[in-house]
């Protein structure tokens, strides 16, 4: 099991500090959802955890090793990151995109070996893209395209999967489709999944742990039952919420909310 944690993490852009002295542990084998208002630093934290953005001070630890001191290729063998709305070049096929996920396991003039091909076939299969593998990524629908990117991250063969708003721009059904795929990967293979997500009901339904952020600090961290309560949501989003148990999943769900003036 791969563990990921942050200690005393301070992050900023230029002179502006976004996150101050954050301590965060992501339990292995669980789904963690990072929630919070726009500009609270969710994406920045995710990027820094994945070494895509430098930390001003503090450290990120991957299996006890400081990520800043690890070769980027070694990290890529343990952790896959899917940035927000990635774009594939025109004409790139689904198979080609997914095969790029094997990059950290290859070197020099690239040839796919049998294991590479098996992993690509598996990633295509589990995301339901086997039939579409020779189609161009830009010709797919939004939901299929997002699944193709997830398939690329899966082909990377990592225990840890980080996703930045994986359901943005998708309709309701496709949002669920993506989230259920992540849930399945977590349940069946024990993958650790960390995602930034805007839909609180989705966070509540799919995540074992929620991290609620405001202005770069953790307001509340815990299960859906602990985080999805009016007081917390009031502090984080400045909204007044009515929360019930979802009859389908028995998880806390917001059925109505209003701005607090």
């Amino acid at each position: 099991m791969t563990t990921l944690s942050a200690e005393q993490l301070t992050i900023g852009y230029d002179e502006r500090t976004i996150v101050r002295q954050l301590d965060l542990v992501f339990p292995p084998g669980q789904i963690t959802a990072i929630i919070g208002p726009n500009g609270c630093g969710k994406s920045t934290i995710l990027k820094t955890m994945a070494r895509l953005h430098p930390a001003t001070s503090g450290a990120v630890y991957l299996d006890g090793k400081m990520i800043q001191k690890m070769p980027t290729k070694e990290i890529a063998k343990k952790m896959a990151i899917l940035p927000q709305s990635p774009e594939a070049p025109n004409g790139l096929t689904v198979y080609e995109l997914v095969s790029y996920g094997r990059t950290p396991h290859q070197s020099g003039f690239v040839r796919l070996n049998q294991h590479d091909c098996d992993m690509i076939a598996w990633a295509l299969e589990v995301t339901g893209l086997t039939e579409l593998q020779h189609q161009a990524v830009d010709a797919l629908s939004g939901g299929q395209r997002q699944r193709a990117w997830i398939a690329m991250a899966l082909a990377q063969e990592t225990d840890l999967l980080l996703l930045d708003e994986p359901t943005t721009y998708l309709d309701l059904a496709h949002q669920l489709e993506v989230l259920q795929l992540l849930e399945k990967l977590n349940q069946e293979d024990g993958r650790t999944i960390i995602m930034v997500i805007h839909d609180l009901n989705h966070a509540s339904r799919f995540a074992h742990q929620l991290v609620a952020l405001k202005k770069g600090s953790i307001v509340k961290q815990g299960t859906a039952e602990q985080v999805m309560i009016p007081n917390v949501l009031k502090e984080v989003f400045n909204i007044d919420t009515t929360i019930v148990r979802d009859p389908r999943t028995n998880k806390p769900a917001i059925i109505s909310y209003d701005l607090i003036r």
Binding site: K47, A50, R51, L52, P54, T72, K73, E74, I75, A76, K77, A80, I81, L82, P83, P86, E87, A88, P89, N90, G91, L92, T93, E96, L97, Y100, G101, T103, P104, Q106, G108, F109, V110, H134, A153, Q156
Partner: protein, 336 residues
């Protein structure tokens, strides 16, 4: 073998045959016509002395030069389009043409050429001036655009700014040249493939023999960088280091191309663009056809430019733009 591999194989075959025909045509036509049969005769050591002179000292080196410069510009353009993820990028955004052009104009302006034409030593020094002009400008643009890492939009914007500034200086200097020198500079700027001596061809080819295989070795890295720097880093690519290596490669190739060929503007944009449309964006597949296309377009343009309005010669770079612009617009209109 699947469909895309078949398509790639066919594309390379068709382009190679076309290129061979273009080579024969370029050797054949001119003030002294030499038929393909005579070409083969001469290659086996027969033929008249005059024909041999025309063939070996004029047509053959200028043909090989067009092939090399075309390849260099096409591959350089392919690299830049991929790392900036912008299909409108070409070596020009790194100031290759403007930088080399300015250096050449400075040289012409400050070298006292009493006869109005370049002396023999001048012709030897000029490509070095052009190359270092291109190099210096590219370094300036890259350094100014670099901000704790590579950002394609910064590179493009800084490139546009520096290019505009240098163009202004270039025009100011050019207007102060004598009419004779002005013409000379103008022809150079239009890309007239002027370095047709064997010594240039040898220098250029020995560099390309190193640079092109290295670019092919980097094909997979280019594929990954084409997904954006964040995805690339996530896949374990040291993106900033790779961006720098690839910029150096692109600058070296287009700098050499411009030094030997003059300001050939459009080729680095259109050759990789067409290649990508035919065989897709994977660099292992698109680099060879892009190189073949670059060579083919430049060689045909050179041949047309030398013969269309004979005895007046049109610079090849100008013909490239005239020939490929309509095709380019057609391509853009055809796709949604």
């Amino acid at each position: 073998m699947n469909r895309s591999q078949m398509k790639l194989k066919w594309t390379i075959w068709v382009l190679s045959v076309l290129l061979l025909l273009a080579c024969l045509l370029s050797l054949n036509v001119g003030v002294v016509a030499i038929s393909p049969a005579e070409v083969f005769q001469m290659l086996t050591g027969n033929g008249t002395e005059q024909q041999a002179l025309v063939l070996f000292e004029i047509r053959l080196p200028s043909m090989v030069l067009a092939l090399l410069v075309g390849t260099a510009m096409a591959i350089s353009g392919a690299i830049l389009q991929s790392i900036t993820r912008n299909e409108l990028a070409d070596p020009g955004i790194l100031g290759i043409n403007t930088g080399a052009g300015l250096a050449v104009v400075i040289y012409i302006a400050f070298s006292q050429t009493a006869t109005g034409s370049l002396s023999a030593s001048g012709a030897l020094i000029l490509p070095f001036f052009a190359f270092f002009g291109a190099l210096l400008t590219a370094v300036l643009i890259t350094v100014l655009a670099w901000k704790r890492g590579f950002h394609s939009i910064r590179l493009i914007l800084v490139g546009i700014g520096i290019n505009a500034g240098l163009s202004a200086i270039l025009i100011t200097l050019q207007l102060r040249l004598s009419p004779q020198d002005f013409m000379e500079a103008m022809v150079w700027l239009c890309g007239d493939l002027w370095a047709t001596q064997w010594q240039y061809v040898r220098t250029l080819s020995s560099w390309l023999v190193l640079l092109i295989p290295y670019t092919l070795y980097k094909a997979h890295t280019l594929n990954i960088l084409n997904l954006g720097s964040q995805v690339a880093t996530g896949l374990g690519i040291r993106s900033n280091r790779e961006y720098l290596i690839l910029i150096v490669l692109a600058v070296a190739m287009s700098g050499l191309g411009v030094a030997a060929g003059g300001g050939i503007a459009f080729l680095g944009l259109i050759a990789p663009h067409i290649a990508r449309r035919i065989v897709g964006p994977r660099h292992q597949a698109m680099l060879p056809p892009a190189a073949l296309l670059g060579s083919l377009i430049l060689l045909l343009s050179d041949t047309i430019g030398k013969n269309l309005l004979s005895p007046t010669e049109l610079p090849a770079g100008m013909v490239v733009s005239m020939v490929s612009a309509p095709y380019f617009i057609f391509l853009l209109m055809k796709t949604k």
